[in-house]
Symmetry: C2
DNA sequence: CTGAAAGCGCTTACAG
DNA sequence: CTGAAAGCGCTTACAG
């Protein structure tokens, strides 16, 4: 098989025609050999499969998709930063469940996914697109929706007729946190939030503010830590320097809460929970680690992912179904930091 | 545009022919309008692009791949469990860099990727397949190689002519750890490893054993924690119960070391590093957190990923290039736990 | 049960 | 500069 032509830029992939030729049958027969229900004499099928195996043939999935009226089984996932544990845990489950359903996840991720990339992936006849959190601007999402590609959005709410979403009842979650703080006798409470343009942040903050008001309390401070550990670390440092009287801190996600906990108990020599309560949001795996024992508001990951999968299946089944919004009910998880 | 036929299983995707019809030009012209260098009257191109935008048309990437002699730009990534931070950090960078290079990562992941899934993804005319760690049995990898699909493997070494790999010089890394322990006066040293069938585990263990021997020491114990935090937790608990004399612990990855640290300083009331030194391996982001300050052996993630990308580019460029094995040089990172 | 033919949506020589 | 035609690799009626 050695060639004396110059480097082959792309090695020839063996094709149904090659197998047909080698096995002395028609291309239709080869195709049938790989199609479970198809009529084909048993001996013939075995022979074809054998030849195919020798040649290392497998049907080109792209050609199959193109030809049939079927689906591509390609599902794009646009995720937020994988360095933030919550998104990473979601992605992990999502990938596994999609694969288990026979779908192929094409992942675009990292902090800000360039709009051009999101548009470009739409070049594929995707079965669907899954968008996590605030990774993509609303306009892009809207635009995608016009392209008739089913979209499942999580972590934000988008009011578009064809877009399904699953989202935590964040306001209520924030209220649970405030309530827990107040019950422990905390009165000088601060809020550490994420990026102001994310709907999760807006809801958590709004929930915090109204629960505080309801408790007759004014927040000592409102600050932001970009939803990251390092952000939590830095913001909490200046927060506690400027307002040493703070005795309760609600963080809009666990990553920041863990950062807050580290500075508070480390550098700032605060005793948690004796003189300072810290409550996070999400309940990532790290929150359960004995090193932390972070008290938090659970934003159930399992449940979120299985709802996304359910919405996906439903949408694929009934493309014209009305948009569905699933609300995940938050839950207070007491541990050691409050 | 409303139809009174029953539910359309898959909404018609607008096609070049639709645009051609609507714009009153040939299908070739439509194609040219989307091909940067192609000859096409400027006015005509603009008109076509305008009509295309109205109709929400974009060329079907699958058809384009099928037709041309070009590449698909699809790259499969088979990753280990995303719950283990090291793989998750690698994946994150890999995805971003692939996208930046115009490749589309199709991700299969989770603990054990079913062999059938790995084989199935090969139905796509992939540009390449990237395999992380021990996520796939050697036989499958070998088989894939026969299919002429370029493979880049990281975290294990596979002796196959066409497979490139990048791998940490683990034996040397383990030796660095032992050396650091010995220099601190530790003499009763134990080893906490990962799954015995992974080549990284074999190398780290071998490196540990020979460095111990070189220092004239016999290991107090050799145990395993499955490379996970929880595994580290449990194994260390019984390790310290059975061998309270241990004064140095080398863990084959950071996740286990963090688990070890938690039990040791928590439940077991050991003082780290005063009476017990703990050293990890990898240097994941968590190791740098002030809450931990884990002393570890850096298995440079940035470097690993950029080498994988370099090998990929090289292989795509020269499919017949000889297999290359890149060794990443480990580095001792002293922090607070030794 | 089986093969020749049409067609999926595109791009790219080929001939104006 | 432009269109008609061929062909990428497949699957699926269609006619034996």
């Amino acid at each position: 098989m050695a060639q004396d032509t110059p480097v082959q830029p792309r090695p020839h992939r063996v094709t149904a025609a090659d197998v047909a030729h080698q096995a002395g049958v028609s291309r239709s027969a080869v195709s049938r050999a790989f199609t479970p229900g198809a009529y084909l004499h048993q001996d013939k099928r075995e022979h074809i499969l054998k030849v195919a195996a020798e040649l290392g043939y497998r049907p080109n999935a792209l050609a199959a998709v193109l030809q049939g009226k079927g689906r591509s089984h390609l599902v794009a996932i646009v995720t937020g930063s994988l360095e933030n544990f919550y998104d990473s845990e979601i992605l992990s489950r999502l990938v596994q469940q999609l694969i288990a359903q026979g779908k192929w996840p094409v992942v675009l991720g990292g902090d800000d996914v360039p709009e051009a990339d999101v548009m470009a992936v739409l070049g594929f006849p995707l079965d669907a697109m899954i968008v996590r959190g605030g990774s993509v601007p609303d306009e892009v999402v809207d635009h995608c929706a016009k392209l008739q590609i089913p979209m499942i959005v999580s972590g934000r709410i988008l009011d578009h007729p064809g877009i399904d979403s699953v989202c935590c009842e964040s306001e209520q979650g924030a209220a649970l946190a405030v309530q827990a703080l107040v019950e422990k006798g905390r009165r000088r409470i601060a809020y550490l939030g994420g990026q102001a343009d994310l709907s999760s942040e807006r809801e958590r903050r709004a929930g915090f503010l109204s629960a505080m008001a309801a408790a007759g309390l004014a927040p000592v401070a409102l600050t932001t830590g970009n939803y990251s550990y390092d952000g939590g670390l830095e913001s909490t440092r200046s927060l506690l320097e400027q307002h040493p009287e703070i005795d309760g801190l609600f963080c809009a996600n666990d990553a920041m809460a863990l950062g807050a906990l580290a500075v508070a108990t480390g550098e700032m020599k605060r005793r948690v929970p004796e003189t300072l309560s810290i409550i996070g949001f999400d309940d990532i795996a790290l929150a359960r680690w004995p090193s932390f024992g972070l008290t938090t508001i659970r934003n159930d990951i399992e449940e979120t992912v299985s709802q996304m999968m359910r919405l996906l299946a439903r949408r694929l089944d009934t493309p014209s179904a009305p948009a569905e919004l699933v609300r995940i009910r938050p839950e207070f998880v007491p541990r050691l930091t409050h």
